[in-house]
């Protein structure tokens, strides 16, 4: 097998004295969708942010595309065709939808902004109707589409998605998951996905990791993990079978 696109080995991250990630090993190969599941506070978002160097890993190594990025400044990491749609969307509320999307493209040096904009708007037609609206006045679902759209404007090789389905109606969730699958199939986009909705995420992903209290406790293909009784008990209880 070729070297993974993203590889974490022995990564530990701290907030002050509190250790949020413990010796994490994780690989994402080019063209894969990998999902990370775990309870609230397990450290999923911390892992996504550590890949981006904010907070920085205190121990271990992060290799991306054959290069050690463990100590690189955040803005340089993000110019290596890595994009994140972070937890809580974090769109710029006092900028228009159009400006938000531009922010995704500009700093990654994209030259063909109109074509990219067109692609993103094809994916999320609602955004096209609202290009001049202020980001802060969008509905929650539209904001989530904007957050993902903004990340896609950077034309990433690796897309980090932190809970894209949070607070969205099931129909919109299906749309977004469908979009991820399409992008992965058609453009070979590599995705690392954090989800509370473990059932859907594991069905979508090629492989998954389970994070408990900052440490990886299980890894396997989506099908394998879905079949594990302890996963069913811990993450799939309560009507997620639809």
């Amino acid at each position: 097998m070729t070297a993974p696109l993203l590889s974490l080995s022995g990564v530990s991250t701290y907030y002050g004295a509190i250790q949020a990630l413990k010796n994490v090993d994780l690989q994402v190969h080019e063209g894969e969708i990998v999902t990370l599941i775990g309870a609230n506070g397990a450290g999923k978002s911390t892992l996504m942010m550590t890949v981006c160097g904010n907070p920085r890993a205190r121990a271990g190594q992060i290799i991306y595309d054959g290069r050690d990025i463990t100590h690189e400044p955040t803005h340089l990491i993000m110019r290596r065709q890595i994009a994140q749609a972070p937890e809580g969307r974090r769109i710029f509320g006092r900028m228009t939808v159009y400006e938000n999307l531009l922010m995704g493209a500009e700093t990654s040096g994209q030259t063909n902004v109109p074509a990219l904009l067109d692609q993103v708007c094809d994916l999320f037609p609602r955004l096209r109707e609202r290009l001049t609206q202020r980001g802060g006045t969008l509905s929650g679902g539209e904001q989530q589409m904007l957050a993902i759209g903004r990340a896609l404007m950077a034309r990433p090789r690796l897309l980090l998605l932190d809970e894209p389905s949070l607070g969205l109606a099931p129909l919109v969730v299906r749309q977004i998951f469908g979009a991820i699958r399409t992008l992965n199939k058609e453009t070979g986009l590599t995705v690392l996905l954090v989800e509370q909705n473990a059932y859907q995420a594991l069905r979508l992903a090629h492989r998954g990791y389970v994070l408990v209290n900052g440490a990886i406790t299980m890894a396997g293909t989506g099908v394998e993990l879905l079949a594990r009784p302890e996963i069913r008990a811990a993450y799939l209880e309560g009507g997620h079978y639809t």
């Binding site: 803005h75 993000m78 110019r79 994140q84 710029f92 900028m95 922010m103 995704g104 700093t107």
Partner: protein, 289 residues
Amino acid sequence: MIYGLIAVGYTMVYGIIGMINFAHGDIFMVGAFLSLIALLALAGLGITSIPIALALTLLFAAGLAALYGWTVERVAYRPLRGSFRLAPLISAIGMSIVLQNFVQVSQGARVKPMTALIPGGWELMNQDGFTVQLSWMQIAIVATTLIVLTIFTWLVTKTPLGRTMRACEQDLKMAGLLGIDTDRTISLTFVIGAALAAVAGLLFLLYYGVIDFFIGFLAGVKAFTAAVLGGIGSLPGAVLGGLLIGLIEVFWSAYFSVEYKDVAAFAILILVLIFRPTGILGRAEVEKV
């Protein structure tokens, strides 16, 4: 008018790092002194064309003041970013004292006078021996302020650099995730704010003709009042606040007494902070210091 130019600097820095840059008024004062030095030097060199001399002075003062602004951020604020909230505030006051004393020692404590550069004016009305006259100087000041603020507004609202600055102001962490060099953007904010303050310093020097090392404090407080009045963190608010403070001072001097005109600004600051801390165009979520 002049206050608007200084107020923009307060508001920009506050917006981006949530801190009142107490040394900002002193950058304005340094700008005024740099202008004086440049004007005297240019006169010494025999450059007599006033427009050329003023343009060179503007570039010189704005450039050097920008360097001061950059240094202040590097030395006094960046090392403290991420520490407790009061630390940069104390550091800012320290920086303000350093700048004042530096100018006091290097330029002397006496008031520096300068002859009026642009004499004459435009008669609006001449009736029964009363003349109402708008001096060329006043017109030049208003025009310069308007031009500078227009360029600045265009920069912030329309250019990629402006978008980057607004992104950092709204969500510094997300800006970093989009590949924006946030440290550089913060530096640039200080640089632009300082350059605007230096323009204000030059205009102040031209208008009042006298400067000393302490003008930064008073002008700083008034510009800060303007920023708070307009709604701190809001750029149009800073401009509006600057205009209002200027008008209020004029009317106060006309109806009460000129000696107490400084009281007006302080009174407004206190009233605004008590009754409408978010200012006229301010946003409710802005956190108070």
